[in-house]
Symmetry: C2
Subunit: 223 residues, 2 copies
């Protein structure tokens, strides 16, 4: 369902050149849960952002459902992405002036879809944030904000969920609950999940682990 | 060196009342490395912010070096805190328009002290961020931003280091290097370190572990 071909992202020039992603070929099958691991600064977030159409590559292609997403103009890409992809950001990106419920349902409202209140309520209860539904982001703990970001990505029941370290600020019990929720959701709604994580135990829960180093997939691992 | 007495932080009223911290007595000895663990939302950050004088308690006292810090007015507390405490925030709080070097040396410049360039350089090299010294925060990976926040807290060689989940966005190898750096720094400069972490393995590296649940210290653990 998602393919990258010789994907590259370079910043700067000359001696300031940073090869954040340096030629990545990745093929993700529909319905699979793939974990991406690698040391800090190895290019994981950059790769995920290009895969989700949030960032344009320097070179190379990304295909979602066979479509070359980076040949679309910004507007068509934005619409395509909103319908296909749910993104959990490493720094959450919650809207400070909206409360938890509004933050979670915003992507749905955007597309003028009807909010399935029961589904959202269930999601929030599983993530243990329902009692905070009227709170503002700055009234939440770090881990609570992270869970709001996760709920928002799942709220539109997207075909593809891209999660950038969704458990970085959670204790191990809550982290396990989150990854289990993601796995169940993927089975139930036939979604595809790509999750960046630093936690080897959580990575082992995936169908497959992709290891990144210096902007490249580590050779010797399955592709 | 740091004591809390019946420390409380309550938000809201009536049925909206949240007892974030609900009566904490904690005594931290100078030169020790104390880990604070507890589930997401249990009150850890709130407790650390009151201990560092960044937030005023609803009730109770915090003593640093025998001084009741919350009886000081805002201005004196700000000066006292800047000289005594280095804080690593859960969400880093880097200044977007300043580069890495400027972000790290800002607290020193603030107090009109001379910047010990060699010391800062050493710190950055150990944290593997020296080659990013001219970069802006938005040009860094999540884990790189976290390491800049750590360097900034250590730059003033404060008596007390309060670190709120300093390794949440770091792979296990880098996390170990960070905690080892913190431990070495504490031994070398006779500092005191209180670190919130979700990682049980890292918590085991401390001299003592304090467990928090529902805003209280869990009974049955040493105090
Ligand atoms: N300004 C506020 N108004 C209302 N409630 C608040 C406010 N700030 C924090 N809280 C609540 O206080 C509780 C404790 O928050 P705190 O940030 O201390 O948790 P934590 O242990 O650090 O969690 P995490 O591990 O997720 O970072 C949470 O339930 C949070 O929603
Ligand atoms: N706008 C930018 N300009 C210059 N360099 C950048 C920019 N954005 C990212 N980089 C660099 O690209 C590299 C990869 O960054 P990326 O955020 O993908 O790492 P990561 O694997 O997600 O790390 P972490 O685990 O710390 O989140 C880093 O060295 C970073 O400094
Ligand atoms: Mg990242
Ligand atoms: Mg916290």
């Amino acid at each position: 369902i998602l393919d990258t071909k010789s994907l590259k992202k370079h910043y700067g020039k000359g001696e300031n050149l940073v090869k954040a992603v340096d030629g990545v070929d990745l093929s993700i099958e529909e319905g699979k849960f793939v974990a991406i691991v690698g040391s800090s600064g190895s290019g994981k977030s950059t790769l995920l952002h290009m895969m989700g159409g949030l960032d344009r590559p320097t070179e190379g292609k990304v295909y979602i459902d066979g479509k070359d997403i980076h040949s679309m103009n910004d507007e068509s890409l934005a619409i395509f992405r909103r319908r296909k992809v749910g993104f959990v950001f490493q720094s959450y990106n919650l809207i400070p002036v909206l409360n938890v419920w509004e933050n979670i349902t915003l992507p749905i409202e955007f597309d003028l879809k009807i909010v399935d209140k029961e589904f959202i309520k269930e999601l929030m209860k599983t993530l243990n944030i329902y009692d905070k539904k009227s709170a503002l982001p700055n009234q939440l703990s770090g881990g609570q904000q992270q869970r709001v970001a996760i709920a928002r990505a799942l709220a539109t029941r997207p075909a593809i969920i891209l999660a950038d370290e969704p458990t970085g600020n959670l204790d191990s019990k809550t982290s396990l609950e989150v990854v289990n929720l993601l796995k169940q959701s993927v089975r139930k709604y036939h979604q595809t999940l790509v999750m960046i994580t630093h936690d080897e135990k959580l990575a082992q829960m995936a169908d497959r682990i992709v290891r990144i180093e210096d902007g490249k997939i580590k050779v010797g691992e399955s592709c």
